[in-house]
């Protein structure tokens, strides 16, 4: 398997895109990975599942960027 740096960039972009398109209501809630389920306490043990949900939520928030306000003001 011969990799180039460009293929690494492609793979990273596709992975981030895959995380960004996971739909909150239709998909993640059904498998129990929604952001308002199982936040957990402030105890010692975050656990792998809550770490994963936090990671997915953070990636989606970062990917939303600053343009969300502009989308709300577009009126056609």
């Amino acid at each position: 398997m011969a990799f180039t740096l460009y293929s690494l960039l492609q793979a990273a972009l596709l992975c981030v895109n895959a995380i960004a398109v996971l739909h909150e209501e239709r998909f993640l809630k059904n498998i129990g990975w929604g952001t308002d389920q199982g936040i957990g306490g402030f105890g010692e043990e975050p656990g792998i599942k809550s770490q994963l949900t936090n990671l997915i939520r953070s990636v989606r928030t970062v990917m939303r960027g600053k343009k969300k306000n502009e989308w709300n003001t577009l009126k056609f």
Binding site: F3, T4, L5, L8, E45, P46, I48, Q51, L55
Partner: protein
């Protein structure tokens, strides 16, 4: 930048036309200056020499050229400052300097440790006033000098091995280098993800992981070298030896580094996760060593 005087002359309407009239038979004087001033053609020298003298005076006395030079130098220094600032934002240069503070004795002992780690007793990284000691004074400290040099040596050795088998071409060299680099980057990213998911509290930064991942290049070099000297059997023997030595080295180093000062504070599942992470990282090494070197030794 060479077009700036032209645009300035556009705004200077009274003198612009004079410039145009003076330089009408030639291309703009800046081009002629830099090429004609240093030419050493004996035949055509007197004629361009007169033009050069005229144009050089024209250049140095021209306030627009002075403005252009000052503008250009300020842009250059501004660009340099911007590059420094962006670089400092991504890479902390002081922390990087820690990993390259090595000397010859350390490198020799560390290479010996990578090949034969079984008799080493004390694997803890020593601290002095909360800061880890640099590699010069502590054998157990990770460094980035050996991985970098080993990576470059591996790429050169791959070129030699392919050349011996008459399969060499310059593109293959670049492909080999980028493949090895991509595998290391993927391994570091996987380790970072594993550390984040298992919430391992340790002082293993990205550079530490890069250093520990880069030590496998030494094993790769030794395997390829033995394979070239002693044939396929020598390659497999060296592969087995360096893999087991590297696995032992990694497990001992990461167990003391990953547990860190909180070793008694973690609960049982978390310690089990840390152990799995360390064992997984160690078990991955022989696979990647084999994958990256077997096509060089046939």
């Amino acid at each position: 930048m060479l077009s700036i005087p032209v645009t300035y002359s556009d705004t200077y309407k009274p003198t612009g036309s004079k410039h145009r009239a003076r330089t009408a038979p030639d291309p703009p004087p800046l081009f002629d200056d830099t090429s004609g001033g240093y030419s050493s053609q004996p035949g055509g020298y007197p004629a361009p020499g007169a033009d050069v003298a005229f144009n050089v005076n024209h250049l140095l006395g021209d306030p627009m050229a002075n403005v252009a030079m000052a503008y250009g130098s300020s842009i250059a220094s501004h660009g340099k400052d911007m590059v420094h600032k962006e670089l400092h934002r991504f890479v902390s240069v002081n922390k990087l300097k820690y990993f390259f503070a090595v000397d010859t004795a350390y490198v020799a002992k560390k290479l010996g440790l990578l090949v034969f780690p079984y008799t080493h007793q004390n694997w803890e990284v020593q601290y002095s006033r909360d800061a880890p000691l640099p590699p010069r004074r502590d054998l157990n400290a990770p460094d980035l000098y050996i991985p970098t040099m080993a990576f470059i040596t591996y790429v050169l050795l791959a070129g030699i091995a392919l050349g011996i088998q008459k399969r060499f071409s310059p593109e293959v060299l670049g492909l080999c280098a980028s493949t090895a680099l991509v595998w290391v980057v993927m391994e570091v990213l996987a380790l970072l993800l594993g550390i984040y998911l298992a919430t391992v509290r340790s002082d293993l930064s990205t550079f530490h992981l890069l250093a520990y991942s880069g030590y496998k290049y030494v094993g790769m070099i030794l395997s390829v070298l033995t394979g070239l000297l002693f044939g396929s059997d020598g390659y497999y023997v060296a592969l087995a030896w360096t893999s087991s030595a590297l696995m032992y080295f990694l497990v001992r180093s990461l167990r003391t580094a990953a547990l860190g000062p909180d070793s008694m504070g973690g609960s049982a599942p978390r310690q089990r996760l840390q152990l799995y992470l360390t064992l997984g990282a160690a078990a991955f090494q022989p696979l990647i060593i084999y994958w990256l070197t077997f096509h060089l030794v046939r």
